[in-house]
C-alpha cells in the first residue's frame, strides 16, 4: 500500500513539475541538448556539449531576450536510445527546440521521431548520415552541419592525383554514417579511376580488429579507415602492433581531435594521414581562431575543437540566431521560428552556411593531413578548402538521386 502511494506521488511529481516550471519561468527558453554522453562515443558527446555551450556563452546565455535553459539528454549512439532521450526531452521536459543527435543512425531515427511532433523544432547536432535529409526528410528537422559525403569533398581526387594511390581497401563501421563517408570518398576516387577491391564493415563498438586487419589484401596501396572514437583508437593501435605497412586515409572522425588526443601507440601510423572534414585544426582564419579560443574556455577542452564541438556550436548558434530574429516567440507552434531557420544564412568559424530546400547545409569543407605541432600534439593541417559543397556534391539532384541510397554495396568499383 505504501509502495503504491509512493509510486503515485512519484508519478505526480515527475508528471506535473515540468509544465509547472514552464509557467513559472516564462522568461526562459528551454533548449534540449541531445548527445552521446555514454557508451563508445562518450568522449565525442562530451566535446559536442562543449561546442554547444560555447555558442550559448557567446550570446551570454540569452536568446530572443530570454534566458536559455539547457536540458541535457543522453544516448549511447544507438537509434532507440536517441529516440528515448528525444522523447523524454520533448514530452517530459517540454522543450520546443532540440539540438542533436550526434551519431548517424540516431539522426535518421530522430528525424522520423520529429515527424510525430510537428510543433517541435529539431536542429541536428553532428549526425551525418545522408538520408537524414536527402530522402524522406522531416519538415521540422534542420541540419546546419553538412553530411558525411560532403565532408569527403576533395579527398578522393587528392589521394589519386597527389598520393598516387590506385587501389584502396576500406574499413568502416557498419551503419549509415560510415556508408555515407565511404560513398563520399569513392564517388570522387572511383571517378578519377581508382579501384576499391575490398570493403570491411565491422560492427560498431568492435574491439578486436586484428582479424579484420589480417583479411585486408596485401596488394592495396592504402587503407581508407572510417571509424570513430574508441573504435578508431583500437584499430589504429592494433594496426601499429601488426606492423601495418600500407598508409592510411582517414574518414572525418577517424583523425578528429577525439582520436588524435587518445593515449596509446597511434602516432606512427597517424602522421601524414590525409583526410577531409568540416574543420581543420590549423585553419588561420580569424573567425576560426576566435572560435578555438572561446571553445578552450570550456572545461576539459581538447587542444583544438573536434568536429562534434564545431557541429553542435553551429547548430546551437543557428537556434539562437533564429530565436533572436523572432524575438523568442514560439507561441505559434514554432512556425515563424522555423521559417527564420530555413532562411538563415550566417558566418560560422568555417565560412558561410546556408540551407538547401531539404534543410541541409551548404558549407566549406577542408582537406587536411595529420601533423605534429610545435607542442608535440597531433593536429590536422589544412591543405585545401573546397568552397560551398552541397549535399549532391555538385551533381544535378536527379542524377545524384539516381545513384541510389548509400549502403554496404553502393557504390562499388572493384
Amino acid at each position: 500500500m505504501i509502495n503504491k502511494r509512493t509510486l503515485l506521488a512519484l508519478a505526480l511529481a515527475t508528471g506535473l513539475t515540468a509544465p509547472a516550471f514552464a509557467v513559472a519561468q516564462a522568461e526562459s527558453v528551454k533548449i534540449g541538448l541531445l548527445a552521446t554522453f555514454e557508451g563508445a562515443f562518450a568522449v565525442l558527446g562530451e566535446d559536442s556539449a562543449r561546442g554547444a555551450m560555447t555558442a550559448v556563452e557567446e550570446f551570454d546565455g540569452t536568446a530572443g531576450g530570454k534566458d536559455i535553459e539547457i536540458v541535457r539528454g543522453s544516448s549511447d549512439a544507438s537509434p532507440d536510445s536517441a529516440v528515448r532521450a528525444a522523447r523524454k526531452l520533448v514530452e517530459q521536459d517540454g522543450v520546443k527546440i532540440l539540438v542533436g543527435p550526434l551519431s548517424g543512425d540516431e539522426g535518421i531515427a530522430v528525424k522520423d521521431f520529429a515527424k510525430t511532433h510537428p510543433d517541435v523544432t529539431f536542429i541536428n547536432g553532428s549526425s551525418a548520415a545522408q538520408d537524414t535529409t536527402l530522402r524522406d526528410p522531416a519538415e521540422n528537422f534542420f541540419r546546419f552541419s553538412t553530411d558525411g559525403a560532403q565532408w569527403m569533398a576533395g579527398l578522393g581526387e587528392y589521394v589519386y592525383d597527389e598520393k598516387g594511390y590506385r587501389s584502396v581497401a576500406t574499413v568502416a563501421e557498419d551503419y549509415s554514417f560510415p556508408y555515407t563517408q565511404v560513398f563520399g570518398f569513392m564517388a570522387a576516387f572511383c571517378k578519377a579511376g581508382g579501384k576499391v577491391p575490398s570493403k570491411s564493415w565491422v560492427p560498431i563498438g568492435n574491439k578486436d580488429y586484428s582479424s579484420v586487419i589480417a583479411a585486408i589484401p596485401d596488394e592495396v596501396d592504402a587503407i581508407y579507415v572510417a571509424l570513430g572514437g574508441a573504435d578508431a583508437v583500437n584499430f589504429l593501435s592494433q594496426y601499429n602492433d601488426a606492423g601495418g605497412q600500407a598508409p592510411l586515409i582517414g574518414g572525418s572522425i577517424t583523425v578528429d581531435q577525439t582520436v588524435l588526443t587518445a593515449k596509446g601507440k597511434l602516432r606512427d601510423v597517424l602522421i601524414g594521414t590525409p583526410a577531409a572534414g568540416p574543420t581543420a585544426d590549423t585553419n588561420d582564419d580569424p573567425a576560426w581562431t576566435k572560435f578555438v579560443e572561446d571553445y578552450k574556455k570550456q572545461e576539459g577542452a581538447f587542444p583544438s575543437p573536434s568536429l562534434f564541438a564545431h557541429a553542435y556550436y553551429v547548430g546551437m548558434k543557428a537556434a539562437i540566431l533564429a530565436l533572436n530574429e523572432v524575438e523568442g516567440d514560439l507561441s505559434d507552434g514554432g512556425e515563424k521560428f522555423r521559417a527564420a531557420l530555413a532562411d538563415l544564412e550566417f558566418e560560422t568559424p568555417t565560412g558561410m552556411v546556408s540551407l538547401d530546400e531539404n534543410r541541409n547545409a551548404i558549407a566549406d569543407i577542408y582537406l587536411t593531413e595529420v601533423t605534429e605541432n610545435e607542442n608535440g600534439e597531433l593536429v590536422n593541417k589544412l591543405i585545401k578548402t573546397t568552397p560551398q559543397v552541397n549535399q549532391t556534391l555538385g551533381i544535378d539532384r536527379d542524377e545524384f538521386m539516381a545513384l541510389g541510397a548509400v549502403s554496404r554495396d553502393n557504390p562499388s568499383c572493384e
Binding site: 554522453f37 555514454e38 557508451g39 563508445a40 562518450a42 568522449v43 565525442l44 558527446g45 562530451e46 549511447d76 557498419d174 570491411s200 564493415w201 565491422v202 560492427p203 563498438g205 568492435n206 574491439k207 578486436d208 586484428s210 582479424s211 579484420v212 586487419i213 589480417a214 583479411a215 589484401p217 596485401d218 572514437g229 574508441a230 583508437v233 583500437n234 593501435s237 592494433q238 602492433d241 601488426a242 606492423g243 588526443t261 587518445a262 593515449k263 596509446g264 601507440k265 576539459g300 554496404r408
Partner: protein, 350 residues
Amino acid sequence: MTDSTSASKGPLAQSATLTTRQLAWFAGLIAVGIFIWLVFAQWPDWLKGLLISKKAFLSAILNGLTLAGLYFLVASGFTLVFGLMRNVNLAHGSLYLLGAYIGYEAAELTGYWLVGVAAGFLVLAIVGLIMQIVVFRRLEGDDLRQTLVTIGISVVAADLMLAFWGGNTYQILTPDWLSGAIKLPVVTAVRSNGTEVFLVYPFYRLVVLAAAIVIGIGLWLLINRTRVGSMIRAGVDDRDMLSASGVNVHFVFAIVFALGAALAGLAGVVGGSALSVAPGEDVRYLLASLVVVIVGGMGSITGAAVGALIIGLAEQIGLVYFPTYGVVLTFVIMVVTLALRPQGIMGRSL
C-alpha cells in the same frame, strides 16, 4: 536398439561398438589432419576463394584463441562466484573496468607494466572482499535482491568511473619485451621469386593466451587438489551441510568472491593492454561472460574454458567471414545451447 543387439549377440555387438568408436577416432584424426594441412600446406586457389586467404584464416583462429583466453579470465571469476553463492554478480563487468583503470594508473605512475597487473589483481581482490562483507553477507539467501543490488552497483560504478576517468579511451602500454610481432613457423604465401612469407603475429597476444592457460590450470588445481578447493566444491553441492560440518562458510565465500573479483581486475589490465579501456567496456565484458558461462555451464571452470573457446572463435571467425551477422552468431550459439542443453555444455543440472 544397440542395447538389445548387444544383449542377444554379445561378441559381434562388441566388435560393432568398437568399430563406431574407431570410426569416431578416425573422423577425429581426419579433422586434425585437415587442420594441420590447412596450417602448413600451401593453399590452392579454390580454397583462397572460399576463405579469403591463409593469413586471414589463421589470424582469425589465433585471434579467436587469444580472445577466448581473455574471456576465460573474466568468466572464470563470474562462474566461480555463481557456482558457490548462487549469486549472479551483474557488477562483474564493472570490476573488469575498474581493474583496467587501476592497472593503467599504477603502470603510468611506476612505469612498470607488471606493477599495473599486480595492482589490478590486488586492489580488486580487496574491492571484492569489501563487496562481499558489506553488501552480500547482509542479503544472504536472498538471491533476487543480491542480483538487483549488483545491477545497482554496476550503474553507480559506471557513472563514478566516467566522472573520474572521463570518456577518453586509454591504452595500457605493454613493455618492450612484450610488444612487437613475432614470426610463426607457418608459411602463408610464397612470393613469385620463391621467398616464403611467414605468418606474423603480435607476441603479446600469445602471452595472453599462455597466461589464461596457466591461470586455468591453476584454478583447476586449486578447486580439485586443495583443502580450500574441496570446501568450495562441498559448498557448491550443499552449503548448509558444509556449514554444519564446522567450516566457516563466510570465510570460504569471502575468499571466492575476492578471487573472482581479482580475476576480473587482472583480466581488465591484460585486456586493456591488448585492446583498450573506455566506458562501456563493463557492459561488453559482462555480456561476454554471461554468454560464455551460459554456453559453458554455470559454476564450472572447465565450462568457462569451453564456453570461452567457442565464443571467442565464433566472434573472430564471424567478424572476418560474415561481419554483418557475426554479432548474431554468438547469440545463436547461446540460444541453441539453451534449447538443447539448458544447463550448459559442462554444467550439471541443478
